[in-house]
Chain length 354, copies 4
């Protein structure tokens, strides 16, 4: 068996422990260090994952020649300097979503990684769940046909974040998933965002995103911190079949409906236009069995494979950048009464270079 890659986790707060636990049990990785400004927190985590080394100084950590990669789980506004420092020290980098707090900074990170030939991967964990991997596969196989609409709902009684609104808090999940399952990724020209802050929290607690897709299709995302019922459901309608992903129904997460509307060519002047032009398919429903694996494990494996194979990971920095581009446009739309805001081109120099 090949030697393991060596990684350190930067940030021992909410998400860092999950990353640490995963890398520490991965067949591909050896977790060698935890880095956090708060030494006590870092040591607590280090103890729980097998007494790895502890750093409070990032530069000191990055100076280690035996380190292949870092995984960053710090607040979004700190991603830019830490990622750049990591890349400049020659380390591959995995970074929690969102990639950065602005598109411009995200772009700089992507270009830095490309210029150095290093892997920059976005931790879009949901994309590595069995359900989302299956959705991607079904769409790639043409099982759904052309995509007609995507409707995603992610609502729950949620913590009102002190620094970001509900769109930046929750929608990265939906957007990164949509980016992941669409064969060409999420590259809309514009986005409209609506929100409400009815409690006076200082930021939107209810948010809606509308995203025009190619060929007249549409994507819509509803995120909400104020709902007492929890819903996590995505419907993806296609010309052939429609898929419903109900993430809170472990007994039937995915349902593929072989039913829909067929539109025959329009006959202009019939008495009853309805019957002549439309027919329904009321076919079977099918719920594929999903393998059971932890998403974080699959993500860690993908990070390792992309380094070993010298290829972009499935959720590379540019995927993170596309999500960021939509979020940034959403914020502009929100500030402009929901009027459509153009999304800055996700095509970057990086795409040309690589």
């Amino acid at each position: 068996m090949a030697e393991k890659l060596r990684i350190a986790v930067v940030g021992a707060g909410y998400w860092g422990p999950n990353l640490a636990r995963n890398f520490s049990t991965s067949a591909d990785w050896e977790l060698v260090a935890i880095c956090d400004l708060d030494r006590e927190r870092a040591e607590g985590l280090a103890a729980r994952v097998g007494r790895v080394e502890v750093y409070t100084d990032l530069a000191e950590l990055l100076a280690r020649a035996d380190l292949d990669a870092i995984a960053i789980a710090t607040p979004a506004r700190t991603h830019h300097p830490i990622v750049l420092a990591g890349l400049r020290a020659g380390k591959h980098v995995l970074v929690e979503k969102p990639l950065a707090d602005t598109r411009a900074r995200g772009l700089e990170m992507v270009e830095e990684a490309a210029a150095r030939g290093l892997v920059l991967m976005a931790d879009h964990t949901y994309c590595y769940t069995p359900a989302v991997l299956k959705i991607r596969e079904l769409i790639a196989d043409g099982q759904l046909g052309d995509i007609l609409f995507i409707d995603s709902v992610r609502i729950n009684l949620g913590l009102i974040q002190p620094d970001v609104d509900v769109l930046w808090d929750l929608a990265p999940h939906d957007l990164s998933i949509i980016d992941f399952v669409l064969p060409d990724g999420l590259r809309p020209k514009s986005v409209s965002a609506h929100g409400a802050d009815p409690l006076g929290a200082g930021r939107a607690c209810v948010g809606y995103l509308t995203i025009p897709l190619d060929k007249g299709a549409i994507a819509h995302v509803h995120v909400n911190w104020l709902s007492p019922t929890k819903i996590r459901r995505m419907v993806i309608g296609g010309t052939e079949r429609t898929l419903v992903w109900d993430d809170l129904n472990p007994q039937q997460r995915l349902s593929v409906y072989d039913r829909g509307v067929d539109l025959a060519q329009q006959s202009v002047d019939t008495v009853d236009r309805r019957s002549s032009t439309i027919s329904y398919r009321l076919g079977d429903t099918w719920s594929p069995a999903l393998p059971e694996h932890e998403a974080l494990g699959a993500m860690a494996a993908e990070f390792a494979a992309s380094i070993t194979d010298g290829r972009a990971p499935r959720t590379d920095g540019r995927a993170g950048l596309r999500v960021l581009s939509v979020l940034e446009a959403a914020t502009r739309s929100l500030e402009d009464s929901g009027n459509a805001a153009s999304v800055e081109g996700a095509a970057t120099r990086a795409e040309v270079v690589r």
Copy 2:
């Protein structure tokens, strides 16, 4: 017992038979005639509800002096002339939703009724279901507190209508319900509408409405003809409680959640702003028992009572006009890439007069 009011049903197509059956079995009404351009269709219906008279000529029907009212179930574009003819013949009028095909025509109808002191009622049937009546009552009683958000989803595999888009076909239900349960009715200043026609049907088959409400609240409506799963659910979030209406769950249609987010006054510079400013209520859930009655029966009773008492019915023409105003603004928004369109004032001369 008082003498029954006498009514005729105009239009024997899809909805007319429901109206006819209801008025024919009502304690308040005597159904005396069916009117339809298609004599055979009118006669078929007349036979099924007890051999009432049949007309193919509206003027002839309206000439009957013993007729108190007409109930109109014809295509929307014909509402305007038929309603006006009815009113001018001195009849009270019930008209299927939407009130008219344009706001201007609806306004003319409302004003004509007001000028003549006749009842013009919109057949917003859903408003008379036990669930919606209970929602209205709960809000009026202050059980929900101030309204924070309303999210309504009405999706299903639906017939693509030959003349109207999905917003005009389905959203009148949601809008009339929202108008009915809000203490001041639905009187937004603007609305944003997004839609998609990914099958090339010639009109939106997927639609989203965003409606800013008072005090920073928001209403959102999702209607969809292309969804293989059927959902009819409205969430109404309030400062005190949040209500979920799941119309497809007969065993628990309404759930009232005594849980939510409380926002204490903002302390500016604490270390952990979250804990200092937010608290959660995780209270009980309560599902009120609903009486079992048919909505159409309650609507027929309300029509009769409004005539007898000389008062506006709960869903009067102006309610229908408010719905129409939002729909018309929605169409303008749809044509303007989803940019917010202003809603024409629902306040009419009629409101002053009456």
Copy 3:
């Protein structure tokens, strides 16, 4: 088109109107009369289904030479004399469940019909629903493999019947369905019944039936009048697949699970017997689309076809007799503290004769 068969409905109470409405709209049948001791009730029903003739005297009705068949919807204790009178007058007979109030009377009816070459059909309506027809087909096609267990739950807040217990009221549904879908019908040697009458209603309001099937399989039925939640679910486990029928979920009535336990041949002395002898299949779930038709219509068609073709209907008198045999044994078991009671052979002279 062939001439229609002519039928009269006997009994205009709870179920009679459903039968009358169905026969009056059937392509195979002409409804010619309603018979009920209560003339007013008979006339009321007759008016609603198109002014057919009314009888209060059964003998008078049966004297009509132009009558081909009668459909009986009277209390169970009256089935025996009415069915025999009908058969002796040369009429084919459809009779509501249960076939009779005792097995002996049921047997006499079956033998009388056989001796006269007339059709005696049990109105096991559920068997003609799209779901049950599909279950029968799936089992016949071997899709489930050998049947391992059947578990049926039918509970609801129900009217406490004045004359029969919950087993006789509700279990005929489950038993007739099980009889219908099992390739060889329901022919158990014994049955155990447990019940409770905790309200002192004078009869069991909660009931459980346990029925040993061939090859070590088992069927179990739970019926309950006291449950505030309504459940109608049958699970049929097979060696190949397992089927769940949830009759209250119109969006997914049938689910076929391609998952289960495989038992390899037993290896006697392994260290870990579990892993060596058992494997799990976690395959897909499949929900077949069901045609939409009314069960009563399909039943009326089957009654007509069996007469025309000179064959036994799918739910013939002997099927009704098998259900009756189990019920009668259940009552004996109930009176004997739930100890197993033998089921009298459902094989009758009739089976030999026909």
Copy 4:
């Protein structure tokens, strides 16, 4: 704060790690050792919970004078000797369900503990979940009124155990819960058990228990290893209200229905007995909020409190003995074709002594 009690976990297999983790983080307990015949397994677990001591020899462990209690998570057939050894060494004992493999051995354990004034507690973990604690409280408060019926379903695709049938594997959960929530515990005179082994696994894989309760009430338990759908639901019907516990619905685990059947005194000779004697309550449904805590933590606290307070724990050895008595009778019934088997008196010398 008082000194912590000191405990060792015996058995490091499937359940032991859960016990160890819980005692190691408990405010009441200090976990001091792990004991297992397999040293490697014991050391693995010891490392994960903070490097406690490891024993492979039970006698050596029990010789520690500083040890207050042991928690046993070994196979059922070994409970008897280990518990007795623990008690005879003066240790309080917690033992995994079932208490023992025979009632006689369980009785001996209970009497030994009573004689020595030591706590013997059954690890009926489910009883300490928020849902079951709330059910117990609701019943004790009279919210349900008198209990009419209990129906418990616990089915899933389950591992076929090599040594016990499905009744002994799963029903201890249901029985211990029923024992816990009934004010007087589960003390039936008899039980009937039905089972099936349709795969030829050598033991029942599908099982049904029927248990007559006081005043004509009934309890019924359905356990099943072969069901592809997972159900864990208990319905408890009372004269006042009925409770449904759906353990797989985290959003609404408990529902209390204020609806039911009222039976007025029977009037003998009315025309329509139904209407005169029965009335329905269709009241509200209420779903109490449940605190979030881990059951094992509450159980550890109860074990500590019972020792400190010198009282019996809520799920003491006699509760375990009552469950065992029912299981043993169930086995006898199963071997006797489901005929009712008498349950040996759960009243023991221990009950007199304590």
